[in-house]
Amino acid sequence: MFTATDEAEALEVLHQSGCTDGLPVVIPTHDRVARLVLASGLDADLDLGAMGPGGGAATIEKIATNAAMAGCLPDHMTVVVAAIRAMLQPAFDLGEMQSTTHCTAPLMIVNGPVVSHCDIAGSFGALGPGHRANASIGRAVRLCMMNIGDARPGVSDMALLGHPGKFSFCLAEDEQSSPWEPLAVALGYSSDDSVVTILGAEAPHSVVFTNDADDNDSPQRLLRALAAVIANTGSNNANLSGGAVAVALNPEHAQVLADAGMSRSDVQAELQRMAVNTRGQIRSFNTGFIAAGNDDDIIPAVRRPADIVLFVAGGAGLYSAVFPSWAAGAHRNTVVHEVVATGAACELPWA
């Protein structure tokens, strides 16, 4: 508990105590925190688990404190809680992910009714500035990782450079513009469920593609363009041959593939098949990871189609994006997901 005579002094105390991400924060007064705890519908003392690498207890009150600092509205709280629950799944290897020298950060993709209720953007500039819910929810998760998980740059968060998504990295799938079922439905949830899907990922790598309706090869060209970026030889996926990747198709690109008769799973399967290098190609860049073998062996960047998190987001146009991952840790950078829990005690209107 910190004390200060006014909010200006409190902000300085928080900065000096290492509790901020370097930007000004909303002062987490008792009333502000209590309001967010109330919105969660959960007990303040409920402990969701130990956050690595420091092992701090992720209680609802601590999460609310960080959400308050991040500028979250009460309605954002259940999404933040779901994200923390997801990251605390053992398969996510949060402690290891926070400690690695790689530039990974948790990319949060939100589906379901909570998207429109909280106004989480999934279209133009969804990962950029100007979207309050995206910025606040993602920032709240990062502040929890720092203040509860004790991830400190150069001390316990050893990312050599990091990337701007380590401030906030949250967006919605643009379900309205997608030709396919929502990502969460593809993962087995109901379309009535709100779900947060999380992958530890690099910053988006842009993939430019020009469609030509008169060119029957257009869908294949798009797949080749995406696969080439998934298999880029600078990525951990290519060098370690595994882990997951996320692919954000803009609605126009998604429609090109859907018009070619491809389902989401068809696209995942094709990208997994096409995103490959030869052992010799990999060894020509890095010798430290790739196992010995024939230079002509085909080395996939992703082992299973399901490890390609394919979703529709961004404005319609020339650019889609690929998010490579760390591809390491005990579970090789597994994708996790969690329902945004609503209930009788929660304020969200569809509960």
Binding site: P53, G54, G55, S99, R152, V155, S156, G288
Partner: protein, 84 residues
């Protein structure tokens, strides 16, 4: 670090080897694992990828100290020296 901590938890003498760049992280991991005082020795950075000859030199330079710390005959780098 965590390997050393795991060995120490089993009641065996342990010393963790930590390169210069990760020294502060070693402190952090040791504290979060509940063994802030686990003995650690400092290595130059980097060791990995520095070549066999360089790694041999590092190993030759540290081996005797590792044994001495394990035997309790030397002070690890994370403890203040007992020398006057």
């Amino acid at each position: 670090m965590r390997d050393g901590i795991e060995v120490a938890r089993r009641g065996r003498a342990a010393v963790a080897l930590v390169t210069e760049q990760f020294w502060l992280q070693g402190d952090s991991v040791a504290a979060s694992a509940g063994m802030p005082d686990i003995p650690r020795l400092r290595l130059p950075h980097p060791v990995a990828g520095s070549g066999h000859d360089a790694m041999d030199r590092v190993a030759d330079g540290i081996a005797a100290r590792i044994v001495a710390v394990l035997r309790g005959e030397a002070v690890p780098d994370n403890e203040p020296s007992s020398a006057p």
